[in-house]
Symmetry: C2
Subunit: 413 residues, 2 copies
């Protein structure tokens, strides 16, 4: 139903914006990111759609056909050192499916609206574009900043989008959102399955742990007189592994991704030490237990003195998101048609824009295998046959959804 060679060529072209070795450096609102968005807009227009870059950077295509329309897409921004398929895959799938279905006489009446969301990765603030589209973006998000200290509002001004209208969901037109993505983990590869139909997206919580001690000279301060914030952070970082392992389920993951000792000199006892600790699970109750366990360990270390250990949430908890049952049914049927007996239902361990859209629209997701389960790294890759198969499954499911007599606009919740 789709043109596999054209699909792969599109992915390779998109990779060219910010390519670095086998990976891509295309953070939101960077020069490569904006050039990629303009290219995507032009491709959509060339495919016969209307398309524009909206006030937060979303590339929003609109089919010339009347609704009901299916939104299909993902994000085109990358992690600071990202792979070439994370986000890009789902965006180019959307472009190709919209184009292919318009070209075929038997499907040219169907309305596919492809979209490339802005800043899913949180270079400034996570899921910026999908939050805006879903009407869930609060003003304070516009003051969130990237690592260089630039705010969302300043970046929008810099790239020339100030005053440009933000695209919004059209309840009279949009009946659902489907997103394809690389799995980013080893589940499909390990089981030999070729397609993953997502049941739910895991909930995510993240805390910042800060140890406050006393900065001092690393030579002249006797060991018994120290309040070394670093020593306590190392103890916390080591012992929290064992604590969390005790309460973990089969799908639980946790990560300390950032840590810093301040002021950070070889000859100075750190006065402050901090880290971020992120944890994910499909079960919100387990996330609550994990957070309590982290707070408890911090209180133990704090109570022992002389350093104090505080725990604060890095952001509001993201609860697990259940995918829409009827969209999932169509994805299952399409998966069975293109990969008979070799597809699986699975939870998504990564966050996605579908989490935001699910508040206002039925949503579903489909995964293809990631080689070695690697993602958020230059080595991220998938086999071309898996890439093309995934697009065929999503195109087939799109047909099934748009020709289903029971289209619903009830949010998946």
């Amino acid at each position: 139903m789709i043109d596999g060679d054209r699909l792969l060529a599109g992915l390779r072209t998109l990779r060219g914006f910010g390519a670095e070795g086998t990976g891509v450096v295309r953070p939101t609102f960077s020069d490569p990111d904006m050039r990629a968005r303009r290219w995507l807009r032009d491709e959509m227009v060339a495919a016969g759609l209307t398309a524009r870059i909206d006030g937060v950077g979303n590339v929003v295509g609109t089919s010339p056909n009347h609704g009901p329309a299916l939104l299909i897409g993902s994000h085109s921004d990358t992690q600071p050192t990202g792979g070439w398929l994370d986000g890009a895959l789902g965006v180019v799938y959307a472009l190709e499916i919209a184009r292919a279905l318009l070209e075929r006489p038997d499907t040219s009446h169907l309305a596919i609206d492809p979209v490339a969301w802005s800043d899913e990765e949180g270079t400034y603030t996570s899921c910026l574009g999908s939050r805006s589209f879903a009407g869930r973006l609060t003003d304070d998000a516009l003051t969130d900043r990237n690592a260089s200290g630039e705010s969302v509002a300043e970046a929008i001004e810099r790239v020339g989008l100030a005053g440009v209208e933000r695209a919004r969901l059209d309840p009279a037109r949009h009946v659902g959102y489907v997103e394809a993505h690389i799995e980013q983990g080893p589940r499909l590869e390990d089981s030999g399955d070729l397609i993953g139909v997502v049941t739910s997206i895991v909930g995510i919580r993240a805390v910042r742990v800060t140890v406050s001690g006393e900065q001092n000279h690393a030579g002249t301060t006797p060991m018994h007189r120290r309040a070394d914030a670093g020593v306590v952070l190392f103890e916390f970082g080591h012992r929290v592994q064992q604590r969390l392992a005790k309460v973990a389920g089969p799908a639980t993951v946790w990560t300390i991704g950032r840590a810093a000792l301040a002021p950070g000199a070889e000859s100075i006892i750190p006065g402050v030490a901090s880290c971020t600790l992120q944890f994910r699970d499909p079960d919100d109750e387990r996330l609550q237990v994990m957070e309590a366990s982290i707070v408890e360990l911090a209180a133990e270390l704090s109570g022992r003195g002389p350093c104090t250990v505080s725990v604060e949430r890095r952001r509001a908890p993201i609860p697990p998101t259940v995918m829409d049952p009827s969209l999932r049914e169509h994805l299952r049927a399409a998966a069975e048609a293109h990969a008979p007996g070799r597809w699986a239902e699975m939870a998504s361990a990564a966050g996605h824009d579908a989490m935001e859209l699910a508040h206002v629209l039925p949503c579903a997701m489909v995964f293809i295998p990631s080689i070695g389960g690697v993602s958020h790294a230059f080595a991220e890759d998938s086999h071309p046959t898996d890439i093309v198969r995934g697009a065929e499954v999503l195109a087939d499911a799109t047909l099934r959804i748009l020709t289903d007599g029971h289209l619903t606009r009830t949010p998946a919740g």
Copy 2:
């Protein structure tokens, strides 16, 4: 013998170059550092000396009197977030003693050469100025870089010192080097002593510990499939405390002052994690045992897998330095005269320029108490009476040294 008010006023003026709150930010070759050096040079000239800023930034004063001359000084650069007395105290003592002795008819024939060394703190490379003066600076040190990536040679060019001759020890003139410093630790305050006469300077070693794992997505990579470099670094940082405590002596100290997880994002499993570990002791054999213990722990963690842990020396080991017995004798006599029964002999737990000069000249050091033992921090301070008393002790010792019939030029070794 000295003018206490003028001394304190000089210290306060020097503090003004780079003052930030109660502390000072005056790293080597920064704008405040160079302005401070020009001020020191001008003060020396106003005191009747010749003075210049040499090719590595040392401010070198020369008494109009013939030798034998006593070098007195310390460094005028600070840590990234430093205190107002670390280095500055000894520099302003030298200025005041040179000036006061020139002013008094009975001492105006004595030769005091005051000096303010460059980059003792190692913003670029530690003890840059004293190494140069002692003829111990190797060419490769000029390629050492600060945290912004600027090399010593580039900085020298930037501040306009390229091509300026570097001052060198004059064996026919200089008979010794004495340096006053704040203790930077709590030893004197704890015992109620007012003056410390330094017996030796501890040896220092430093290693960088690097853990190599596998960067990956923090959501989609199951715990059992991870090679999380951060987790291993936290374990190393925690367990090394217990290992080193087992082999420590009463004066041993060790510090992890820097740590980093790379790439350092909340949602990415660190592929590389590293820290610096510095350790000090008056006994070189103990330092050897400590280093072996660190290497052993790294090998254990590395052998367990899946991450590898490597240990490399950050710099050549600095062996303990013994102070010159005859200079120490004069310092002891001066201490007893100005603080009868309230002075102590002690090892210096911090490194100092005297370590470098001791290779080529008899050296000695005197300490005054630090309030709360705090140093390398904005809160660093000493009582004004202690500051003035220290200068009187050093002036008295200077007289005793320069009027001693048995001046020697044998290095202390």
